[in-house]
């Protein structure tokens, strides 16, 4: 680390390769934050003149600022929504969506619990907003007679939104609320590992780190139980719990601000390494090619 602070200069495309200076402001999804932050860090080692500020206001909060023109890049753990598109249009912000990695939610249980696979309906029975299940055998009679202890992220995380909207698909866009909530994934890990009927969900790579104290459930979306893994997620088999992660780039900023361009180029160039640092599943070759193509489209 270290290095002298460079002076801020607004724009000017003075050469693409490593010579730029200036500031880049990134905000948005806290899920994607580790990747964008890692990109900033790796870039700063090569070119400390580019000053990148990365915040994590959440996907929604990030789009709010992005469409106001306050930020150069917005991280997102879901595609941009209609009203956000409208807001950007209103302010004349043109942008490009780049997929940067794949995230897989993993449902985990206490290793001692004799449950290995859930169907999507069973997930809904477990986590749905109307669920009142308190014992595993209420989910399925074949499951053990064991009290359920639920752990999960708080209502403000994208992970929660993802579970509520995309997996359960409830009208109310909510899960049940009588669970132990924490923004800290460690809390969930420790809660599940320490409680016999414990179960919870979070990102796949986070599970990988704690694989010795937890058991991941396979998911059956009508085509048999699929174990969570990088391959199944990339291949699109692990549905509906795998999702794409994006960054949204402000086209004008990319073209006018060499620092922004350098940051984004660097990001995509080193995407595999960055995804690894961010503990996400890297893009498959096809998806990576698509992202590169979209990037080239910005300059045009």
């Amino acid at each position: 680390g270290g290095g002298d602070a460079g002076q801020t200069s607004g724009g000017g495309g003075e050469g693409e390769a490593g010579g730029a200076s200036g500031s880049v402001i990134v905000d948005g999804s806290s899920t994607v934050f580790p990747m964008s932050d890692a990109a900033a860090e790796l870039l700063s080692e090569e070119n400390p003149e580019v000053q990148t500020t990365v915040s994590e206001s959440g996907t929604g909060g990030g789009f709010e600022r992005f469409c106001n023109g306050e930020t150069d890049i917005s991280d997102a753990s879901r595609p941009i929504e209609e009203d956000e598109i409208a807001a950007c249009e209103e302010n004349g912000i043109e942008y490009t969506e780049l997929q940067v990695a794949t995230d897989a939610l993993t449902m985990v249980v206490n290793p001692d619990l004799d449950v290995d696979c859930l169907t999507v309906d069973q997930i809904t029975a477990l986590w749905g907003p109307d669920s009142t299940a308190t014992n595993w055998n209420e989910i399925d009679p074949s499951f053990p007679d064991q009290e359920i202890a639920l752990f999960g992220p708080g209502t403000d995380s994208g992970t929660y939104d993802y579970m509520a909207n995309d997996v359960i698909g409830a009208e109310s866009e909510a899960t049940r609320s009588d669970y132990e909530a924490s923004e800290d994934d460690n809390v969930i890990v420790q809660g599940v590992a320490g409680t016999e009927g414990g179960t919870g969900y979070f990102g796949y790579t986070y599970f990988e780190e704690n694989a010795d104290s937890l058991k991941a459930l396979a998911i059956d979306n009508g085509e048999g139980c699929v174990e969570p893994s990088a391959e199944t997620a990339q291949a699109g088999e692990y549905t509906p719990l795998a999702r794409p992660l994006f960054i949204y780039v402000n086209n004008a900023k990319y073209n006018d601000n060499a620092a922004t361009a350098e940051y984004v180029d660097f990001y995509i160039e080193n995407l595999a390494d960055i995804a690894e640092v961010g503990q996400f599943i890297p893009l498959s070759e096809d998806l990576y090619a698509e992202t590169q193509a979209n990037l080239e489209g910005i300059a045009g």
Partner: protein
């Protein structure tokens, strides 16, 4: 004049004085004293446990990289808090710059000029005590509104952060400055006024200089409260991560308590170790400020 009627008073029953035991050391008294000792040292014990526990957790990271490196995601084992520490120092500097002159001016007015009988001065007084108890996070909301009002669209700057913290400690500075002014004896003021000095001359030449140690102590204690605040900084949008040094009022910064807060929710053990080590750094800053305040207080304390 009615004279006492009990003149036929019995002779005094003297209690023996040389009993060899003292009522001051009766079991009840001793139990009470022990309870008081416990009360006094309970908090200190907690503090020691806290520091020791944190220090043990953070021990592997007591190295210079902790303060010279920027935050690293790539190599958690050498991550550092350079940006947060510098950001915190900048924040403290500007917070003091905003809050201290204003706070002293307000305190001087209330203590030396205002007529305390007037209702509006009493309102100010009650209001100040209220503000001292307003949750810190609310000052974050106020700073956001103020920044918007002043037309600054950039969030996460030194300006926004130090504004929030300055608003937060202003009541503390005012209240402690007033106490310091109040402790300057009336006689000193009277002596000056009786020579034909105006109230302002008296304040500027006599009262304020005499109150400087108290004002310094209050300011430092206020700053030591501000230094650990993360909540209002989150609200004003300070960045979670950046890797360059602050340069001025409009620089983007992060702050040490914010970095700690965000690290506590990281999965990697290395980050938690670093967070523990950073907590020790933060505590050293806080304890240092407090020690400075005590030194000033004891060194310059005047017995009038």
């Amino acid at each position: 004049m009615s004279i006492a009627t009990t003149t036929a008073r019995r002779t005094v029953e003297r209690t023996e004085v040389a009993t060899g035991k003292s009522k001051e050391r009766s079991p009840g008294s001793i139990a009470f004293l022990v309870a008081l000792w416990f009360s006094l040292f309970f908090g200190v014990m907690v503090l020691i446990v806290l520091i020791v526990d944190t220090a043990i957790n953070g021990a592997p990271r007591f190295d210079t990289e902790l303060i010279t490196n920027y935050a690293s995601r790539v190599s958690p084992e050498t991550t550092g808090f350079r940006a947060g520490i510098l950001g915190t120092i900048f924040l403290m500097g500007f917070t003091a710059l905003f809050a201290v002159p204003l706070g002293i001016a307000a305190a001087v007015y209330l203590e030396e000029f205002a007529d305390n009988e007037k209702w509006y001065n009493r309102v100010i007084e009650v209001n100040l005590q209220n503000l001292a108890a307003v949750p810190a996070i609310v000052y974050g909301l106020l700073a956001v509104a103020t920044m918007a009002l002043m037309g600054f669209s950039e969030t996460g700057t030194v300006l926004g952060g130090s504004l929030a913290l300055a608003l937060l400690i202003l009541p503390v500075v005012i209240i402690t400055t007033r106490e310091a002014l109040r402790s300057v004896p009336r006689e000193i003021r009277d002596g000056s006024l009786a020579l034909g000095a105006t109230t302002w001359q008296t304040t500027w030449r006599n009262t304020l200089p005499a109150a400087i140690p108290g004002i310094a102590t209050g300011t430092i204690l206020g700053l030591s409260r501000a230094i650990g605040e993360a909540a209002p900084l989150v609200v004003v949008g300070l960045a979670g991560s950046l890797r360059f040094d602050p340069e001025g009022l409009m620089s983007q910064i992060t702050a040490l308590p914010m970095q700690i807060y965000s690290l506590t929710s990281q999965s990697q053990e290395d980050f938690r170790v670093a967070a523990s080590a950073a907590i020790i750094v933060l505590l050293v800053l806080v304890l240092g400020l407090n020690a400075l305040a005590i030194i000033i207080r004891n060194k310059f304390q005047r017995s009038w």
